[in-house]
């Protein structure tokens, strides 16, 4: 490096695009060291593809009830047919097609909930960490309150108020996940606020809004990204749990948790109606959590190699 500064070429300022590329390369280097994380990433991308291409790849409609093929076992089991690869449910719908369409719901829930809680959490956390004082106290007590109630219970209570359904479930889950973002943002802002570069920006005349969003926030992103992946998988799990309890997406929506709820009474007669939707939830959540572990290793130098 010391030699490089002597050559006239390297004396040119490094463009931000180059810098970004360099950072990305470094990120990928650490991320790809974690084999599980790479597997998780590929599984996740495959799921996204399945969700997008659902109308093309699903062999049947997720709602069509084939009355002559009720509770057909999967193709490899005795009595199964290749028409319904993973079998059919108690009203004769193709399980594979429902699972494929279900991917759309789960990923949509994860995306919406994470975006909602991330954005609201960042704004509230920035305000609390930047202004401190009474505003901070009120916000943090509010967050303590939300955290004092188990997330699923709070989500149930909120859904009771908003009425059962996927939209209510997403709002409710976003509320329960939001405090984590508030706390992380606030802690990071408090740590960064007294740094010299922030003081310099303030003296240069940057407005509080600019200081919060342009100066401080970009330096707090690593823990937020890791938390966002965790929230993504938690949102999918909680939405499925609410669906399973009958308070999330309503039948006949092919949401995985709702599918499990509909199949519950048949568990001792037809194992496949219960096994596959749950397996889909597990694989999705596991892939995202694997990715999350890799992201944490790659982004958070403090936690590296632990």
């Amino acid at each position: 490096m010391a030699d490089a500064t002597l050559t006239p070429k390297a004396a040119e300022p490094v463009s931000s695009a180059q810098m970004r590329r360099q950072m990305l390369r470094e990120f990928w280097f650490y991320f790809s060291e974690n084999r599980g994380a790479v597997i998780g990433l590929f599984v996740f991308l495959a799921l996204v593809l399945v969700a997008i291409l659902a109308p093309v790849i699903a062999p049947h409609s997720p709602f069509e009830q084939y009355r002559d093929a009720v509770l057909k076992p999967p193709v490899w089991a005795e009595g199964g047919t290749a028409t319904y690869i993973l079998g059919t449910d108690p009203v004769g719908r193709d399980i594979l097609s429902r699972l494929i369409y279900g991917a759309q719901y789960s990923l949509f829930v994860g995306l919406v909930v994470t975006t909602l809680s991330l954005i609201s959490g960042i704004i509230v956390g920035l305000l609390a960490g930047y202004y401190r004082g009474w505003l901070d106290t009120i916000i943090m007590r509010l967050m303590d309150m939300i955290l004092a109630v188990p997330s699923l219970l709070l989500a149930l209570v909120l859904v009771t108020i908003l009425g059962p359904g996927l939209n209510s479930a997403m709002i409710a889950i976003a509320v329960t996940l939001q405090p984590h973002f508030v706390r992380l943002t606030r802690a990071a802002v408090m740590a960064e606020k007294t740094r010299d570069y922030v003081t310099a920006a303030r003296i240069a005349g940057a407005s509080p809004l600019r200081l919060m969003f342009r100066t401080i926030l970009p330096n707090c992103t690593a823990p937020l990204i890791v938390q966002a992946t965790l929230s993504f998988s938690n949102a999918i799990l909680d939405a499925a749990a609410l669906g399973f309890l009958g308070m999330g997406a309503q039948p006949p929506t092919p949401e995985w948790g709702t599918m499990l709820a509909e199949a519950r009474e048949f568990i001792l007669r037809a194992w496949w109606v219960v096994t596959f939707p749950g397996l889909a939830i597990l694989i999705t959540v596991l892939a995202i959590n694997l990715m999350g572990d890799g992201l944490r290793d790659a982004l958070d130098p403090k936690l590296k190699r632990s």
């Binding site: 109630v149 499925a240 096994t275 939830i281 597990l282």
Partner: protein, 334 residues
Amino acid sequence: MFGFLLRRLAVLIPTFIGVSIIAFSFIRLLPGDPVALLSGERVMSPERHAQISAQLGFDRPMVVQYFDYLGGVLTGDFGTSIVSKKPVLDQFLTLFPATIELSFCAIIIAIALGIPAGVIAAIKRGSVFDQGLMGVALVGYSMPIFWWGLLLIILFSGILQWFPVSGRISLMFYFKPVTGFMLIDSLISGQKGAFTSALSHLVLPSIVLATIPLAVIARQTRSAMLEVLSEDYVRTARAKGLSPFRVVGIHALRNAMIPVITTVGLQVGVMLAGAILTETIFSWPGIGKWILDSVFRRDYAVIQGGLLLIAAIIMTVNLIVDLTYGLVNPRIRH
């Protein structure tokens, strides 16, 4: 230490008041007329409406209503169930032992397996055992436990017929609850086979409820242990020629346990949320199932009271964990 307690209480009391405001507002935020919701009567004449409204205190200003509610809560009045017309607190106290029994067994399983697994994984870092264990832990952590419970029912109740599907004890046995804990009551009753029956009913739900805490505790123990094992004093202990068992078991483990205690404490909230799912799957008559049933029966008084009671329990447990933490690690008090 006393100052530390006071500081924790200073945070806790406003939080409790806040949760009570949430519980208080809950009934009033529901779509529909709260008077009709609370009385459970759909069609009412205006006179009857005014009468119940006055009886419930809804005709007074909101602030008065809230302080009335808070006063009731502080004297143990958590409202009356709309469906059963019994006090919410009484119902809670009858059902709570079932949830404690289940959660207690689950946390014992989680600690008894999670801590040794985490310690061994840390010692044999990078080995097949470590990688396999962390893989299993991540699967456990990602597990939709309601599905996991159904799978266990298919395998152990359906195919193998080792354990019963639901309930706390076989219907063959009946005795008056003394402690509310089925394991203890069945022993006291002296009936042959009652204890075994109670125990076999506990196995599957405890495993299901233990899954996520077990995974979290194993992961946390491993990383805490790895950190401690690289400390200088551990190297000193090794250099002194202490046996590996003494180094790990006495010197390292004691310090590694500090973050693990917090993790275990935090699992209480996770468990109570998990109890809603686990108790529903196994028809376990505890508070989780009670709350969910109340949601379906529109018994809003129970949801309101249950919400506050559960939050109060979690806050108390967190306080105890904080205090234990303060005792184990004096640095945190300041």
